[in-house]
């Protein structure tokens, strides 16, 4: 294992190194109470970066797949049209990205750069992005009521897809693990020292303990829910019940680190100039499938809920992208007005199945 140990007091020096290399670094900051967010690190706020804090609701995927992104500029002149694609490929780093969000980015990678497909806008931002993953180790501050990365198999410690991974060993020390050559290159800094077998054993022991601090929630039934959704075994009335509780606000998709849907919109920016932007879209919204002229093949709310959970949980899509569109961050559960985030939906599916099983004759 390419592992090093460093003093807690030196952890933020990694941020300094990245900034010295010319990276725009984004890191988590605390606000009041549960209110936390990723923000750009400056000389002024650098000291306020927090390692242990509740994972911000607004996921860091926006640094690669922005909420609103300009795709091209179009200029009219003399009867002609000039179309100029607008690319941005800033050198960036996310410091403190949680394992669930690393898995979310991996899903986006598979989706926007998987198989033969290349989304050039995504790719340009992605290849200049450096990820410093922080393992959630503090049950009081890192791990929320709704977290279920242990069930989604994405955390608390990501196994891959980061450049550098940090884990608080307690006792004033952190362990750093390199996931890429770029991450390993940082180890030349003087504040890293070689890890010992004892350090590795400490890491393992801490992870073992952390895994126990997740709420023993029904999401342990997650994989069974995947099986049932994939087999199309969920009854219509369950989707209807879920649909009844959906206020169609789109909040779940807004905070989701693995949602990919977008819409495209033109806006006039000058008398002869238009820019085309893409904006996150949400399958929860009624207009998502409405065509010009008004025909909407997916009118009912519960059809749209069904859609979301099928896209996230069905075996078909997991195979299609070779990764799953739910990473167990629990944000959708935290923001949902109607309490139909992923954990609740899994629970509703579990209850329904128990009910069906009760009535099905047992084959002898």
């Amino acid at each position: 294992m390419k592992a090093r140990v460093l003093d807690s007091a030196d952890v933020l020096k990694i941020v300094d190194l990245l900034r010295e290399q010319g990276c725009e670094v984004f890191a988590p900051f605390g606000g009041h109470g549960r209110d936390t967010c990723y923000d750009k690190v400056t000389d002024q706020n650098r000291g306020q970066i927090q390692i242990h804090l509740p994972n911000p609701y607004y996921p860091p995927k926006r640094f690669i797949f922005p909420h609103i992104e300009r795709l091209m500029k179009v200029q009219r002149s003399g009867g002609g049209i000039q179309i100029e694609p607008t690319y941005r490929e800033p050198k960036r780093a996310i410091f403190g990205i949680r394992s669930c969000d690393v898995a979310g980015l991996w899903h986006l990678d598979r989706f926007f750069m998987g198989r033969d497909f290349r989304d050039i806008y995504y790719e340009k931002r992605r290849k200049n992005m450096f990820l410093v993953n922080v393992v959630c180790t503090d049950p009081a501050r890192d791990i929320g009521e709704e977290c279920f990365c242990v069930c989604a198999d994405t955390g608390p410690a990501a196994r891959e897809h980061f450049d550098l991974q940090l884990m608080d060993l307690g006792d004033g020390e952190f362990m750093a693990v390199a996931g890429t050559p770029a991450g390993e290159a940082l180890f030349s800094a003087p504040f890293f020292r070689k890890g010992t077998d004892a350090d590795v054993a400490r890491r393992r022991a801490i992870l073992g303990e952390v895994r126990k601090s997740f709420k023993p929630s029904t999401t342990s039934w997650f994989s069974a829910a995947i099986r049932h959704v994939s087999a199309g075994r969920i009854q219509e009335k369950t989707w209807e019940e879920i649909g009844k509780r959906c206020l169609e606000c789109g909040g779940c998709t807004y905070v989701c680190p693995a949602c990919t849907c977008f819409t495209v919109s033109d806006r006039q920016v000058g008398p002869d100039e238009v820019e085309r932007v893409r904006i996150w879209d949400a399958c929860a919204l009624g207009g998502f499938t409405r065509m010009a002229g008004g025909h909407n093949p997916r009118k009912a709310v519960h059809d749209r809920r069904n859609r979301r959970f099928f896209r996230k949980l069905s075996h078909y899509f997991i195979q299609r992208e070779l990764s799953m569109a739910c990473v167990g961050c629990g944000r959708c559960a935290a923001v949902c007005h109607g309490d139909i985030g992923m954990p609740s939906v899994v629970e509703m599916i579990r209850r329904e199945t128990a009910e069906v099983d009760k009535h099905e004759p047992v084959a002898r």
Partner: protein, 282 residues
């Protein structure tokens, strides 16, 4: 990370509008070509049943069926004005620029149908995507057995592609049957829904070894399917195209996804057997 330079799949190419032809009320045909002849040549490799994304900058982008057959010289769209993008296209005059990207989608596997009878059933502007197949089949006439066309429109004034209809009516290689929901003065043809043509005296719909192409409004589609099944058609031998709200055309924006399929890449052509499995309304 894969460092290979990617092409920009969202970038449309500039096209010039050459000619506009009125078809029926609110429907026009727009003859266009790419400014760049190389783009035009590349685009011309499309298959019947594919579609393109049409950009009217300022209004947006919309998916449009390709009514021409790749065997024809000209490229054109036939578009009804329904929303802001289509309305913007209808405003254009010959010589105006807009932009196009594509072709997209799977298209009809016309080669797989070699040696079979072809039955085309179209309602209203459902003829737009089927026109491509019909012209293609007639250009490869020797590859197919019988070719039958059943076409319905609301009134005689709603019949589009009149030059083609005349040709097909006179051509020995194709049986073309027309019907209207409401007759008008001078109309001597059939009156009734398109399915009523199947039972007309003298009409014998090919069923064995036949592919039925069905395109039209959802209500027409449901009735025609019933009629075709009554004639003995199997679901897998009925093909259609699905229409969905689309933004990207390349399987990424998420809007056209039904069940396990993205209409833009896995469709828009599906057999009725596949459509039923997708589990959503037409």
């Amino acid at each position: 990370m894969n460092p290979s330079p990617a092409e920009n799949v969202y970038l449309p190419k500039v096209a010039v509008l050459d000619r506009v032809v009125d078809e029926i009320a609110e429907v026009k045909t727009f003859y266009w070509r790419f400014e760049d002849p190389a783009e035009q040549a590349a685009f011309k490799k499309f298959r019947p049943g594919q579609f393109a994304q049409v950009s009217l900058f300022g209004a947006g982008e919309f998916p449009a069926s390709l009514p021409p057959s790749p065997t024809e010289e000209k490229t054109f769209f036939t578009v009804r004005t329904v929303g802001s993008c289509t309305a913007a296209l209808h405003q254009l005059k010959p010589g105006d620029r807009f932009a196009v990207r594509g072709p997209y989608g799977n298209g009809f596997p016309m080669e797989d149908y070699y040696g079979k009878n072809l039955v085309f059933v179209a309602g209203g502007i459902g003829l737009i995507p089927l026109r491509s197949c019909i012209i293609y089949a007639l250009a490869h006439r020797e590859k197919y057995k019988r070719i039958q066309i059943f076409l319905g429109a609301k009134t005689p004034r709603d019949l589009m592609y009149r030059d083609n209809l005349r040709e097909w009516a006179q051509s020995a290689g194709v049986e073309c049957h027309l019907t209207v929901d409401r007759a008008a003065e001078g109309w001597t043809g059939n009156v009734g829904v398109v399915g009523s043509l199947f039972k007309k005296p003298g009409v014998q719909v090919a069923v064995e070894d036949t592919v039925a192409f069905v395109c039209g409004p959802p209500i027409m589609f449901r009735f025609v399917i019933k009629d075709l099944k009554a004639l003995g058609f199997q679901d897998k031998n009925i093909v259609s195209t699905l229409e969905r709200y689309m933004k990207c055309g390349v399987g990424k924006c998420g809007h056209c996804c039904i069940g396990v399929a993205y209409v833009c890449v896995d469709g828009p052509v599906f057999t009725y057997e596949q459509i039923q499995k997708l589990g959503e309304d037409i």
